[in-house]
């Protein structure tokens, strides 16, 4: 119990004094995870909707694979991305290993299946409602996907936030491909792992509370910006 109070106190002081290291790694966490979210959403939202709209031969298999990929262990993703980006790997010439870009790539791979799968679930229901209307209007596939994405934006927001939650809290993959380099690739989760390793539980826990607060803040901000969960508009 003492450690938890010490953690709360250390989180409080870190935030109140605007510790420069804390600000730096927090901004880096946000930058990496929001970039990953943006890229993953651009891929996963249309793809998930397309899966709901189109009928093709390997649809079931594709959905099964997608759902299985949701459980992809981040450490495995990290190791594969590491081997690909290593100087001795196929993309070694790009020199991306141990940079924030490598961390974004790993996180995109981790969260894209998650967002696509939730999108597909939500869009399937919506498609059942819209099916007759959109077919009778003789819409193209692309028009159908756009309509569904626009009208289902609340559900897609949930999908995106789930993806963001997984990205910002992820440590296994970015530890391997980012290397947890101070002032270069250290983010909140890898800093927590490092401080735990040093036995400094108070600081680790303090960073953990900052991480939770950050996730809350981003969720609220997205709700405010997209004007959901408001009176008359839920």
């Amino acid at each position: 119990m003492n450690d938890i109070w010490a953690g709360l106190a250390s989180a409080f002081w870190l935030i109140v004094t605007l510790d420069p290291d804390l600000v730096e790694i927090t901004l880096r966490s946000l930058r990496v995870s929001l970039s990953a979210l943006l890229i993953a959403a651009l891929i996963a939202l249309p793809f998930g909707t397309w899966l709901a709209v189109r009928r093709f031969r390997f649809r079931r298999a594709t959905i099964a694979v997608l759902n299985a990929l949701m459980g992809l262990p981040p450490v495995v993703v990290g190791l594969i991305v590491y081997l690909l980006l290593s100087r001795s790997g196929p993309f070694g010439v790009l020199g991306l290993l141990f940079t924030p870009t490598a961390m974004i790539i790993a996180q995109v791979i981790i969260i894209t299946p998650l967002i696509a799968s939730i999108t597909h679930q939500a869009m399937r229901e919506l498609w059942a409602e819209y099916h007759d209307l959109l077919i009778s209007l003789n819409t193209s596939n692309w028009q159908r996907i756009r309509t569904l994405i626009f009208d289902g934006r609340r559900a897609l927001l949930t999908a995106a936030l789930a993806g963001f939650g997984r990205a910002i809290g992820e440590v296994g993959a970015i530890m391997i491909v980012g290397g947890n380099i101070d002032h270069a690739t250290r983010v909140l989760t890898t800093a927590i792992a490092l401080e735990t390793g040093k036995g400094d539980f108070a600081l680790a826990l303090g960073l953990g509370f900052v991480l939770i607060a950050l996730a809350l803040l981003v969720n609220f901000a997205i709700h405010v910006l997209s004007r959901t969960e408001r009176e008359g508009r839920w």
Binding site: L42, S86, S88, T99, G199
Partner: protein, 268 residues
């Protein structure tokens, strides 16, 4: 949207421009806190940003083999010599040493405080089958521990449940030892910097067998042309300079000197 993407990629790739050097170091070196003293001095003296990758010796050597780092600073002599002999590194330069200690519960059920050698201590622990935590991650510390068991005439593979390989870094292993109240081999620096000691205490130290030599190996630029060999050479010159000697010999935790500088002033 495309503009936003370009902007984001511009931001994320920007950081890699300054003159930087990637150095793979062991967890035990980093946990000692010495790097926090040396890195700012390196930045001030030779204007070089050293990016530390803190990994076990096993992974550090792999990073060097793949050319993902410019140099390595590790402590496992036989593995280092094999690394250089295989042509991955140009040469091996000894920098400094610290020492290992055997920690255990302060009640000392195996009575290793009465022992005069490291091997004797391990035999005593095995005799009473007290809990022993092993790094189990092929790191320098783990290799040292296995060498000590071998010298003691015991094979860890035949140990019973009391011998626990956790497969983790020094800090995480110390956390486990503290939680289980078991014996563990640790470098002195990591132990003094460790914040969660529980009932553990230093029970055995001082056997010359437990000295721990750190060496610096630049990765061979002939094999990996993108290696920043110039920065690696500058860093080596600084690490073996009197400025580094003052900082390394003067670094203390709780009034104890941790590292002894022993680099020869001329390149081998």
């Amino acid at each position: 949207m495309i503009r936003a993407l370009v902007l984001i990629f511009g931001l994320v790739t920007h950081a890699a421009q300054a003159d930087t050097l990637r150095l793979a170091v062991t967890t035990s070196f980093h946990n000692s806190g010495l790097s926090d003293v040396l890195l700012p001095a390196i930045k001030a003296d030779i204007d070089l940003d050293v990016q530390l990758l803190v990994v076990g010796t096993g992974q550090a050597l792999r990073l060097g083999e793949a050319g993902d780092v410019d140099a390595i600073l590790v402590h496992s002599k036989s593995a280092e010599e094999a690394f250089v002999a295989a042509g991955y590194g140009t040469h091996r330069r000894e920098i400094m040493y610290n020492d290992f200690v055997i920690l255990g519960p302060d009640t000392d059920p195996a009575k290793i405080e009465d022992q005069s050698t490291a091997e004797g201590s391990l035999r005593a622990i095995a005799a009473v089958q007290a809990i022993f935590i092993s790094r189990g991650d092929n790191s320098g510390t783990h290799k040292k521990e296995r060498a000590l068991w071998q010298n003691a005439g015991l094979d860890p593979a035949t140990h019973g449940d009391w011998y626990k390989e956790v497969g983790a870094g020094m800090g995480a292993s110390l956390n486990t030892a503290s939680g289980l109240n078991g014996y563990i081999l640790s470098d002195r620096a990591s132990w003094l910097n460790f914040g969660n000691p529980g009932q553990l205490a230093i029970l055995f130290a001082g056997d010359p067998e437990l000295f721990n030599q750190y060496a610096y190996i630049p990765v061979d630029a002939a094999r990996h042309p993108h290696i920043n060999a110039d920065a690696a050479a500058r860093l080596e010159a600084w690490l073996t300079s009197p400025a580094a000697q003052t900082l390394i010999d003067g670094y203390m935790i709780a009034g104890q000197t941790l590292f002894t500088f022993n680099a020869s002033p001329t390149s081998p």
